[in-house]
Symmetry: C2
């Protein structure tokens, strides 16, 4: 047991690497702490659509890359920091949730020992499920799980097992990375697994591009969710047995009460 | 299925209620969207320590209350909004995660019909587990669950069942509200349940008052975690079987790889 890193200062004369989260979309969800890191950085590294969101600034180098090369991107960032550059690695949402922070630490673990001595930090952000939940009410108001459906890096049967156990635990479930070219039907399969445990009228929120101009949020049910289209930019929230709708003019509010059994 | 509320504008001449999250501590984690709501509000409602974080502003009424009266606080906020006031209900962290948003929707569901027609919104924030994770590395880099140990509003056996299933699913687990006066030993009991399923050397992070001057972050193991003191301001993160330490000078980094089985 020991005290963890608590330093908040940005060293002026040495390289550093900070992994930052830009939130799910609009600038109004970027924390001042993240803006300060970006302002101070000499190099910005990230997936093209994220780096494109930042203003061009003289003297700052932007390294935009494809989405599929997270580990190479992390190594490149570490090399630059090791060479004395001030590097911001940008993620959407929160960098620690299915995003770049884990890739950076993976690169550090398997990279040269010198990387472990670098000034490395992570600046949190608003992750997509929080913004999606806020848009419709408070569906994450009680215990929940966040599960990525991406089977690039973990076996599909592990994902299905986790979904089953999370459903048995009656957790609200937020699904990230719900579709992929390699497995177009995986979300449908996930809904089928959950539907075997949870009622067909369980509220489901499918939130695409939350906070962006092309935002599209659908409220549906577990029984009908397979008919709603999702893409890579969609986060899906499946209610627990307690999640409720509040009828009103227009779209109902969706929330999960703080008390268990209160709605019964 | 239908489109959900997408309006971002703040009506000038009508009452509204926005539930906002101030993040876990410092102003640098408050989003510009939240700051704009607070700036525009005529009334601020919240638990005393949260409202105390905001600057005093002429013409703005601050209604600080005790922590135990969430539903009364929510009703009061709705009454004010119904009377044409512009009301910001403030939570720490994200308002949708074990915080005020669920209480507000609960009050709406059980309150007068007119409350459903009010302009009600939620502005997301950085929830404590994200900030805690960022401080030590990327322990939430893979699938995880967020579970409140508060048994004020749900039966303790439901909490233990959820912990067991989340451990069987090999999710990283973030625990909120780990202690209470009524049940001082509940965190110890939770560690015992998890320790029966997960290895004793599983990394555990106990993060108190993240981002605040009195921040205290301890890195320990599941086998020894019961000996570390926690309080109401502590969030606890228990690793999965995959969560790893990266040794270095000082405190190791902690992260959960993106790939399942990569570290084996």
């Amino acid at each position: 047991m020991s005290e963890a890193m608590t330093g908040d200062m940005i060293a002026e004369n040495a390289g550093w690497l900070v992994v930052v989260g830009l939130g799910p979309g609009p600038d109004r969800w970027i924390t001042p702490a993240v803006s300060a890191v970006i302002e101070a950085a000499t190099d910005i590294i990230g997936y093209g659509p994220y780096t494109a969101r930042l203003p061009v600034q003289p003297g700052r180098t932007v390294h935009a890359s494809d989405n599929r090369v997270e580990i190479e991107r992390a190594r490149h960032a570490l090399e630059l920091a090791g060479a004395g550059r001030r590097v911001a690695v940008v993620s959407g949402g929160d960098p620690g949730v299915f995003a770049m922070a884990a890739a950076v630490f993976e690169a550090i673990e398997h990279g040269p020992a010198a990387w472990r001595a670098l000034d490395i930090r992570v600046e949190p952000g608003v992750t997509a499920m929080l913004a999606a939940a806020a848009r419709v009410g408070a569906p994450l108001g009680h215990d929940f799980a966040a599960i990525s459906l991406s089977d690039n890096l973990k076996p599909w049967d592990i994902i299905l097992k986790r979904l089953r156990l999370a459903a048995e635990a009656d957790l609200v479930i937020a699904l990230y990375n719900p579709v992929s070219r390699a497995r177009p039907d995986k979300l449908r399969e996930a809904f089928a697994v959950l539907g075997a445990i949870r009622a067909g009228d369980t509220p489901v929120i499918m939130a695409r591009a939350v906070g962006r101009p092309d935002e599209r949020i659908a409220l549906t049910t577990l029984g009908e969710a397979a008919e709603v289209e999702a893409d890579m930019a969609t986060v899906v929230i499946i209610g627990s047995s307690e999640t409720r709708l509040i009828a009103r003019e227009g779209v109902p509010f969706v929330y999960t009460p703080r008390s268990y059994g209160a709605g019964r």
